[in-house]
């Protein structure tokens, strides 16, 4: 039975025991039980566990007498107020105050909130509305409300925004609210319905069914013959993006500051090679790009939407997922979301929501139906927020049980903001006093709601502002967790530490076979790329060789984009010339290692490693569960029998005290420290430390300290579910070793046998790469992956700054997507790659004595390949694998890219390569297609408006950094867009809150 079936059966078994099975499932479980003794034993065990747990908690639990008394006191005080149900007036609220920690007390929060509110508003005003700067908060709030009212009466700004592709159902909502609102209250259960709208789908079945119904309803209503959105889009493009100044701005973009207004060099503006006939349109477009940065998916969508409106209204039947992703799921969902393949599409996005006249008639038609189906009023809010559900669920589902809180933190910032907000929870404790439950129940009075909206909006908007001295790229990373396109003029240097780990790839593969998407933070693009076998020739004399290759970007969406591959290949060390190894295995034998035969896999890995060793080498073994114990003291690797008899009896037991294991491992390693050998601890675990020190920082410091003493640390992870990838990666990182993830015997063989010298024979430490781009030739660039490996440019030559290690024969590849300027120099390279490293530090060696070497190599346009297909196979492999990773990690840059292209090019390359690893990759990417296409880039209206707003903030930041061309028209244009967006965000928030609180 495959692991997959086993897992499924285990799930069923649990459901069976807990009475959650359907009749069919019950039969299946019972059949399986009859067949398998193992399963019967498991059933016994689980049953006993359930009984044990429930028995242990026998008896009611209750608040302490004191707590209950205080609670009731508070309640009584409230009950005494004349209007139960409404929020109590302030004095009543104070009643229970003594029982609440000071920082949670309403007054404290109110005070903090007022301070923040004032600060936030002042910030906003001083930023965008100088006139209101000194208005008291109340007045400002009033102004804001007036704005809102105006906006509701005037659909123009909304329409414009839609034209740009964000704000799926904005206008629909405004137009339709009167009809939608009353209907909704009667429809179905308020809790569920609101919950649904907040992105917490009640359950698979009902959620899907309702969505399907909703979709069916829409597609009926929305298949408007003729599709009148074209004018709306074109009009909106011109009005919003450029306003009356489109010409001026475009000209300016062309002449004085191409960099600022056209971060994405579009055909027309900065590149002379473009025919001038397209100049006007191109300039308009590029200004659009300028404002929106990387929204090429959107462009494709616009392009697609115009000639083929029919396709836009029936994407569920789109035959070509490549087109699908291009048209549907543009960057961060600007516009339509990618739907589940088998789901009729609900209406959203520009194609649907931009009727020529502002969109009320169509919307009125649809609103009652939506509300009949249990969707909240405000058609926009319904589908738009329901589209947020997958983001939320995806995040949860793709990463169940591994990081806990950490997963939260590692989610994209936008997700987090929305998530936090949707959940009503908030990191700002000062602000959360005014919030309430997630669902329909609580009622607030009008003033309360207004205050909430104001506060929430300010907080969300405040998060979008540039922080002091923040660079545009840092803002980008803060917002979306991806490396930004850096303007070369602002930052010509890109510096990072090498990373030779590959665990991320193996782990992701494991997830995908289980039909789950890994979390964004788990997909490290560089590890995907570096997983594959080296294709560059290893240097024979020097430690490293730098190779570069340049070709047009396959996925750039424009012929101005190029992809630069920087490859660094390390010297091979032959088996004979490698140093002796002194390895201490630290083996996790805790209870969780029983799952999936993890311990057996670990033993297998140890035996494999042993098979690579000879009489020069020695090994020791420490096992740990609740505590650590020495299984085998440092023993010559020649004594196979002794070693095997130590490995064989290892059994899983008890809890997991990783710290004790590591500590003893280091003691053993130190005891057997051999200055002439390569001393290394190999930590094998499923990565869940739960007893002893579980503070990663402290463990890291421990590892670091021992590294100073000359002991490396490799980590090998096994298992899924509890596997803590980050924990192991960090440990290996600090121990200057490799982190591998091993999910089966083949992977173990690969990690240990095939990459033996690479993993166990270091050739260089603190290896840093710096690429210096020529601003004259490179307009902007972005580094794919290495997000966690960035090093400050100034630290490149600071040898105290730690960086990655490279083992013998390793190949490290980095990819840069770049946009060239019109300048092509035959003389100067467009980029110079520098590599700096130290000789590996042995045991007891003084850091000051270590040799430092730096080499460099220029890349010039002359050596560029004419097309992607003309580039080397190794180059193409890197690009395709990186692109897959970018898809998988929902990179903002991959939106709009065609998955079909990836598959086609990968298959073609596989035909030429015949590389089994790559063949597996091709298979995996094909299998994952549906999963990836179905679940990426779902963003709701609120998200999208927020993204747009952030983009403007980044653009503004770039302008400020460039310190030029901050002229009035441009600023005015930005200001207006900011303002519109700000209103939009406030409006969306208002709608959400009103939805929830009636």
């Amino acid at each position: 039975m495959s692991g997959l079936e086993q897992n499924e059966l285990h799930e069923l078994l649990c459901a069976y025991l807990l009475g959650e099975c359907t009749e069919q499932q019950r039969e299946r479980v019972e059949t399986a039980l009859a067949e398998s003794e193992e399963l019967r034993a498991e059933k016994e065990r689980l049953g006993a566990t359930i009984g044990f747990v429930q028995g242990a908690f026998e008896g009611e639990e209750s608040l302490s007498e004191e707590a209950l008394a205080r609670l009731l006191e508070g309640v009584e005080a409230h009950a005494a107020t004349p209007k139960p149900g409404a929020l109590p007036p302030e004095p009543v609220r104070e009643a229970p105050i003594h029982q609440i920690a000071w920082y949670r007390r309403p007054m404290a929060r109110a005070a903090a909130a007022v301070a923040l509110l004032t600060g936030g508003i002042l910030g906003i005003r001083s930023f965008d509305r100088g006139t209101a700067m000194h208005a008291p908060a109340d007045q400002v709030a009033q102004l804001e409300r007036n704005d809102e009212t105006r906006r509701v009466n005037d659909p123009a700004p909304l329409r414009n925004l839609e034209g740009l592709g964000y704000l799926g159902g904005g206008a629909a909502d405004v137009g339709g609210k009167p009809t939608g609102a009353p209907a909704k209250r009667e429809a179905g259960a308020p809790e569920e319905e609101v919950l649904e709208s907040l992105g917490y789908a009640g359950s698979d079945e009902t959620g899907a069914r309702e969505r399907a119904q909703e979709g069916a309803a829409d597609s009926n209503s929305l298949r408007v013959p003729g599709y009148g959105g074209n004018d709306g889009i074109a009009e909106a493009l011109e009005r919003v993006v450029l306003g009356a100044r489109s010409d001026g701005l475009a000209r300016q973009a062309d002449a004085t500051m191409p960099d600022a207004t056209t971060p994405r060099a579009e055909p027309a503006a900065p590149i002379p090679s473009t025919p001038s006939s397209g100049r006007q349109v191109g300039a308009v477009r590029s200004a659009l790009d300028g404002s929106e940065r990387f929204r090429r998916g959107e462009e494709k969508a616009l392009a697609l939407a115009r000639p083929a409106p029919q396709a836009a209204s029936e994407p569920s039947r789109s035959p070509d997922p490549g087109v699908m992703i291009g048209s549907d799921s543009f960057f961060l969902g600007h516009g339509q979301e990618k739907q589940r393949e088998n789901e009729p599409r609900s209406y959203r996005g520009p194609g649907d929501t931009v009727p020529p006249g502002g969109g009320s008639s169509k919307d009125n038609e649809i609103l009652p139906r939506l509300s009949d189906l249990g969707y909240p009023s405000g058609a926009g809010a319904g589908p738009a927020t329901s589209s947020e559900a997958p983001v939320d669920e995806l995040a949860k589902e793709s990463g169940p049980g591994r990081f806990g809180d950490e997963a939260e933190q590692r989610k994209g910032e936008a997700d987090a903001v929305v998530d936090r907000w949707l959940r009503d929870g908030d990191g700002d404790e000062d602000l959360h006093w005014k919030k309430d439950s997630p669902v329909g129940g609580p009622r607030f009075d009008r003033a309360e709601i207004e205050r909430m909206i104001e506060l929430e909006s300010n907080r969300v908007l405040r998060d979008c502002y540039r922080r002091p001295n923040e660079k545009p790229g840092a803002m980008y990373f803060r917002f979306w967790g991806d490396n930004a396109f850096e303007l070369t003029e602002l930052d010509r240097l890109s510096t990072f530490s090498v990373d030779v780990d590959t665990a991320s790839y193996t782990l992701a593969r494991r997830y995908l076979t289980r039909n789950l998407l890994p979390e964004k933070a788990q997909v490290r693009t560089e590890e995907f790329v570096n997983y594959f076998a080296p294709d560059l020739p290893a240097p024979t004399e020097e430690t490293f060789a730098i190779h570069t290759e340049l070709a047009p970007s396959l996925f750039g969406g424009t012929d101005q984009r190029w992809m630069l591959r920087v490859g660094v290949r390390g010297r091979e060390v032959s088996e004979a010339e490698r140093k002796p190894l002194a390895i201490t295995f630290v083996v996790d034998v805790s209870g969780s290692m029983r799952q999936e035969n993890r311990l057996e896999l670990v033993k297998h890995s140890m035996r494999l490693l042993l098979s690579q060793l000879d009489a020069r080498d020695s090994i020791a073994i420490v096992a740990y569960s609740k505590e650590a114990r020495l299984i085998l003291p440092m023993t010559s690797a020649a004594q196979r029998g002794v070693i095997e008899s130590a490995i064989q009896p290892l059994r899983p037991e008890g809890s997991t005290n990783a710290e004790a294991g590591l500590k003893m491992g280091y003691e053993v390693a130190l005891a057997g420290l051999d200055a002439g050998a390569n001393n290394r601890v190999v930590f094998l675990s499923d990565g869940v430390a739960n007893v002893g020190q579980i503070d990663q920082d402290a463990l890291n410091a421990d590892v670091r300290r021992h590294r100073e003493q000359g002991i490396y640390l490799n980590t090998i992870g096994v298992g899924l579910g509890n596997h803590n990838d980050v924990f192991l990666e960090q440990l290996a990182d600090k121990g200057d070793g490799i982190c591998d993830y091993v999910d089966d015997e083949a992977a173990a063989r690969r990690a240990i046998v095939d990459r033996f010298t690479g993993a166990f024979e270091p050739i260089a430490s603190d290896v840093k790469i710096q690429v210096d781009f020529d601003p004259a030739q490179v307009y902007r660039y972005r580094l794919l992956g290495y997000e966690n490996r960035a090093i400050a440019d100034v630290d490149f030559r600071n040898d105290r700054v730690d960086a990655g290690e490279v083992g013998a024969g390793h190949q490290v590849v980095a990819l840069y997507e770049l946009e060239r300027t019109s300048v092509t120099s035959e003389e100067t390279p467009l980029a110079t790659v520098r590599l700096r490293w130290k000789a590996p530090k042995g045991a007891g060696q003084d850091p000051a004595e270590v040799d430092v070497t730096e080499i460099e190599r220029g890349v010039s346009y002359r050596e560029a390949a004419g097309s992607f297909d003309a580039a080397s196979a190794g180059y193409r492999k890197s690009v395709l694998v990186a692109q897959f990773a970018e898809f998988l990690r929902r990179s903002t840059h991959a939106a709009g890219d065609s998955y079909e292209t990836l598959l086609a090019k990968a298959s073609a390359l596989q035909g030429q390569l015949g590389d089994p690893e790559f063949a597996e990759f091709v298979l995996m990417s094909r299998r994952a297609q549906e999963l990836i296409l179905a679940q990426t880039w779902r963003r709701g209206a609120f998200d999208r408006a927020l993204d747009e707003y952030r983009r403007y903030q980044i653009l503004r930041c770039e302008l400020e950094e460039l310190r030029r061309n901050l002229d009035a028209p441009l600023l005015e244009d930005l200001r207006r867009k900011n303002e519109t967006l700000e209103r939009q965000i406030r409006d969306l928030m208002r709608r959400e809150i009103e939805e929830r609180h009636g």
């Binding site: 747990v53 359950s203 579910g721």
Partner: protein
């Protein structure tokens, strides 16, 4: 007052009867306390969280759907609402870095004093289960507590946590498996008192847990 429906209790409370509210607290507090503790940990202010959830109920009670009062669905409705509020409050707590640190330290301290599973006496099974639960990843812990101790169905858990039913099933499965493996020594210990004895004598020397950070 036990035969009074939740709807009626809420109504009475709205009319000023705080005893009705006390009854609501009595009916719901147990599962909520467990839920909160599962999320924020035993060492922290999980009681405060539950109190705050009830205060929210007092200040702005939800509208219960009109369903027959007899079949317990009202209870489920209000219970779900309270669990959701509790969960949100816990999320706030957990998000606070400082408090999380404290929680971890509390767990670590608890474990240090508990001395690991093997030494737990049968009388302390509850402590053992708590410690074991505390070691599970938070989302597994949450669904297990809701399912095993809160007697919530997968469906209800999905509603409360915002996860899909399938995900809940998976989390239960993974969590229960880990739990059963971790609790193995105790489960076996009940019948045969094994583990410690089965460890080969002289096989290794025990090392006491490292110093707490």
């Amino acid at each position: 007052m036990t035969d009074v429906s939740e709807h009626q209790l809420l109504e009475r409370y709205r009319e000023g009867d705080t005893q009705a509210f006390a009854e609501l607290v009595r009916r719901h507090q147990g599962p909520l306390l467990r839920h909160a503790r599962a999320l924020v940990g035993a060492g922290s202010s999980y009681e405060d969280v539950v109190q705050e959830a009830f205060l929210k109920l007092a200040w702005s009670p939800p509208e219960l759907r009109a369903v027959p009062e007899t079949d317990g669905r009202q209870h489920a409705q209000l219970s779900s609402w309270l669990h959701k509020v509790t969960r949100n409050l816990c999320m706030d707590v957990m998000r606070s870095e400082a408090r999380r640190k404290r929680r971890e330290e509390a767990v670590a301290a608890q474990e240090a004093s508990a001395g690991g599973l093997d030494t737990v006496e049968a009388a302390d099974t509850r402590a053992a289960v708590e410690v074991t639960l505390a070691r599970l990843p938070v989302d597994q812990r949450e669904v297990l507590v809701l399912r095993l101790l809160g007697e919530k169905s997968y469906r209800e858990i999905a509603e409360v946590t915002g996860k899909k039913v399938g995900t809940v099933g998976w989390l239960v499965s993974v969590g229960l498996k880990a739990l059963s493996e971790e609790l193995m020594p105790l489960l076996e210990g009940r019948s045969s008192r094994s583990v410690n004895e089965t460890r080969e004598p002289g096989m290794g020397f025990g090392m006491v847990q490292g110093e707490p950070s």
